[in-house]
């Protein structure tokens, strides 16, 4: 029998797990965080951006001490065809306001910092350990099994990431389906800070976020991204796993083609590849939401699929942090009442329902379905590019009125399709 017992064992030291660990340890609970990687963040990946609001509420002004890369002050959406691009830039002072700002991050650094905060608060972090199974007693989760070792706790938080085998073992979730997850692939390309700032038109320390739709995924559902870090760029692609089976190209080939696109190539010129990584991303939102809690156990972050899929971008870290916070609040109450039953832990779901997490997930619930429309990744970028070509390319052939140009191109997609998709898009949001 285990000789030691914790109030709470957290499996996984990502943003969700470490946030919960930090808050629980701060409240005086005995917390053990078990991490599979050799250090927190060693197995994690993000495209690159953390929206600050949820962590800001917990650790105010965290960005002044945490290893964040750059504050994003410039957003760009680019529609790509094989040889052309149309971009829309957004710059606003509002991107600079507290709680509204976002930062580019690299997880190896950021996750270590956050896990360190949990340790400083008194949580015990055990890295390099894989949790193989859960301990059950009378149908209730009572701890974890790691190799030969068993460890008991009043409650276990599963923060073990997108492919949470433990949530399956706890009966909270079924195996992932290919259309519920995307694969994200990323290169970190090193460039001097000054070059990055010049290339992207940024002041010192400021960052840019760019997303790409169209040719970069060869018409498949997904998109490209580029985030500026301090001394590097995070450049990558996200696409639905189910689509990959039919793809002519492999993931690395697609990334290579993306890198050699005439629009991307000058952005990464003279950069040095320092890191290549890939990861699964849960992207079915509410449509894949597991049971979030049961007797003695709850599931948070990516493990619970708490990721908002906006088609060409995905957003999860701020939701992960909020879910870790909600779980910790539920546990603190459970501890006061010495009741870790499902009925008591249901408070976690209540807190999530009332927070932006579930409200945003609901908002975007129909969005994945709407995005599963190849026209969005093929015809529409082409349409926009064609209109701009007509506007800007002057070769001596007689011009036509703009209205006609636009209509001509729109007819190629089909006006009915265009209206239908526009209506669906509005409805989905």
């Amino acid at each position: 029998m285990p000789e030691e017992k914790f109030d709470c064992i957290i499996v996984g030291a990502g943003p969700a797990g470490s946030t919960a660990g930090f808050l629980l340890a701060n409240a005086g609970l005995e917390v053990l965080i078990i991490e599979r990687g050799t250090f927190a963040g060693s197995k994690n990946m993000t495209g690159g951006r953390l929206y600050s609001h949820s962590l800001e509420k917990i650790i105010s002004d965290f960005a002044s001490v945490a290893p964040v890369e750059r504050k994003v002050v410039k957003e760009t959406i680019t529609m790509l065809t094989n040889d052309s691009a149309v971009s829309i830039d957004f710059q606003s002072q509002q991107l600079n306001q507290a709680q509204k700002e976002s930062y580019t991050v690299l997880r190896a650094d950021f996750d270590q910092w956050l896990a360190g905060k949990a340790e400083d608060a008194g949580a015990i972090l055990a890295p390099g350990v894989r949790v193989d199974d859960l301990l059950f007693k009378d149908g209730k989760v009572t701890g974890v099994i790691a190799g030969e070792d068993e460890m008991e706790a009043d409650v276990v938080i599963l923060a073990d990431g997108v492919n949470s085998l433990l949530a399956q073992k706890a009966g909270l979730k079924v195996e992932l389906k290919p259309n519920q997850v995307a694969v994200g692939v990323k290169e970190v390309i090193e460039l001097p800070a000054q070059v990055i700032e010049d290339r992207f038109g940024l002041n010192k320390g400021e960052g840019a976020a760019r997303i790409f739709v169209g040719n970069c995924t060869k018409g498949k559902i997904g998109g490209g991204f580029l985030y500026t870090n301090k001394n590097s760029l995070s450049l990558g692609l996200v696409f639905t796993l189910a689509d990959l089976a039919e793809s002519q190209l492999t993931v690395p080939q697609m990334l290579e083609e993306f890198k050699s696109h005439p629009v991307i190539k000058p952005l990464i010129k003279d950069g040095k590849l320092v890191e290549y990584s890939a990861h699964l991303v849960p992207e079915a939102g509410l449509n894949m939401l597991p049971k979030l809690y049961s007797d003695g156990v709850m599931v948070v972050g990516d493990a619970a699929g708490l990721v908002i899929n906006a088609g060409y971008t995905v957003r999860g870290m701020d939701l992960a942090i909020a879910s870790g916070e909600a779980a910790s609040k539920a546990i603190i109450t459970a501890k006061e009442q010495d009741d870790y039953s499902a009925a008591s832990l249901a408070r976690y779901q209540d807190l999530l329902d009332r927070s932006f997490v579930m409200q945003d997930l609901k908002q975007y619930q129909k969005f994945p379905e709407f995005m599963e429309n190849p026209r969005i990744f093929n015809e529409y970028p082409q349409l926009v590019v064609n209109i701009f070509k007509d506007m800007f390319i002057v070769d001596g052939s007689p011009g036509k009125p703009l209205r006609k140009k636009v209509l001509n191109h729109a007819k190629q997609v089909g006006l009915v399709n265009l209206l239908k998709d526009a209506w669906k898009g509005v409805k989905a949001l």
Binding site: I34, I124, P127, G128, V129, A146, G147, E148, D149, M151
Partner: protein, 261 residues
């Protein structure tokens, strides 16, 4: 009960060192530290003697920034760690290192067996073990790939270039071990948790009677740079060359380079 001490060095993980293209200088910016590879084997050998033979097992180290190593090492078996943590130790040679380690081991007292890795993953001078033996007045046994402790003494197998030498050592000894002596463990959850409760002892230079002025390093590192294999970066199949022509061109090029000789 025999008392066993393992020495280890906390080194920069060579996987994190980058060689700069322009001048082949080393960039340590992103470097993390780790237990020197063969010292993991030394620690594991001590842990096994503790678990299988009931020996008392301790670890010692010295260097800059070694406090970061304590939890990791303690989860691998030793009951405690005695260490000297000094920034200036970053630039010392094995004569200084071995003097400090010898001082710590003398302070522990009555140590029957000292286990070191054959060489460190950074400098690989292979000197600390034999120097320690000399300073402690212990027997010195190198290239050990089997180690046992019995009532009669310490039994070892030395793996030599073309043979195996089996030795029995009377009295205390310093052995340096090879990587195939054992497979270092991946600490289990309980071992990691237990490590957090184990004691460590920070030792000052004064306590071990170490006089900095009398023990200046005798070696000074003048420069250190990486070796880089220069590549020609030639593409053979350019301009729509057929596979056959490309193959011929490749053979011609390899011949010209002397690669097929």
């Amino acid at each position: 009960m025999k008392k066993v001490v393992a020495c280890y060095k906390w080194v920069i993980d060579e996987a994190d060192i980058r060689v700069e293209e322009k001048d082949h200088s080393l960039n340590f910016e992103r470097a993390k530290y780790k237990i020197s590879e063969y010292d993991r084997n030394a620690i594991e050998a001590g842990a096994l003697l503790n678990e299988e033979k009931g020996c008392e097992f301790l670890a010692v180290t010295c260097g800059p920034n070694v406090e970061a190593s304590l939890k990791d090492v303690l989860s691998r078996g030793p009951a405690s760690i005695s260490y000297v943590n000094e920034e200036w130790l970053a630039d010392v040679d094995s004569s200084v290192t071995s003097k400090i380690l010898a001082g710590i081991i003398k302070k522990i007292g009555n140590v029957d067996l000292v286990i070191c890795g054959e060489g460190s993953s950074d400098d690989y001078s292979q000197q600390v073990g034999p120097r320690l033996a000399a300073l402690l007045g212990y027997a010195s046994v190198t290239f050990v790939n089997k180690l046992d402790i019995t009532e009669e003494g310490i039994k070892v197998e030395r793996k030599l270039e073309d043979g195996v030498e089996v030795l029995e050592v009377k009295g205390p000894a310093v052995v340096t071990v090879l990587p195939d002596i054992n497979k270092p463990r991946i600490p289990s959850l309980k071992q990691i948790l237990a490590a957090k409760k184990k004691p460590t002892e920070k030792i000052s230079l004064k306590e071990i009677g170490f006089d900095i002025n009398a023990s200046q390093p005798k070696l000074k590192t003048l420069s250190i740079s990486g070796t880089v294999m220069e590549r020609k970066n030639m593409q053979i199949n350019t301009d729509g060359l057929s596979i056959k022509d490309a193959a011929l061109k490749l053979v011609k090029q390899l011949n010209a380079d002397g690669s097929l000789a």
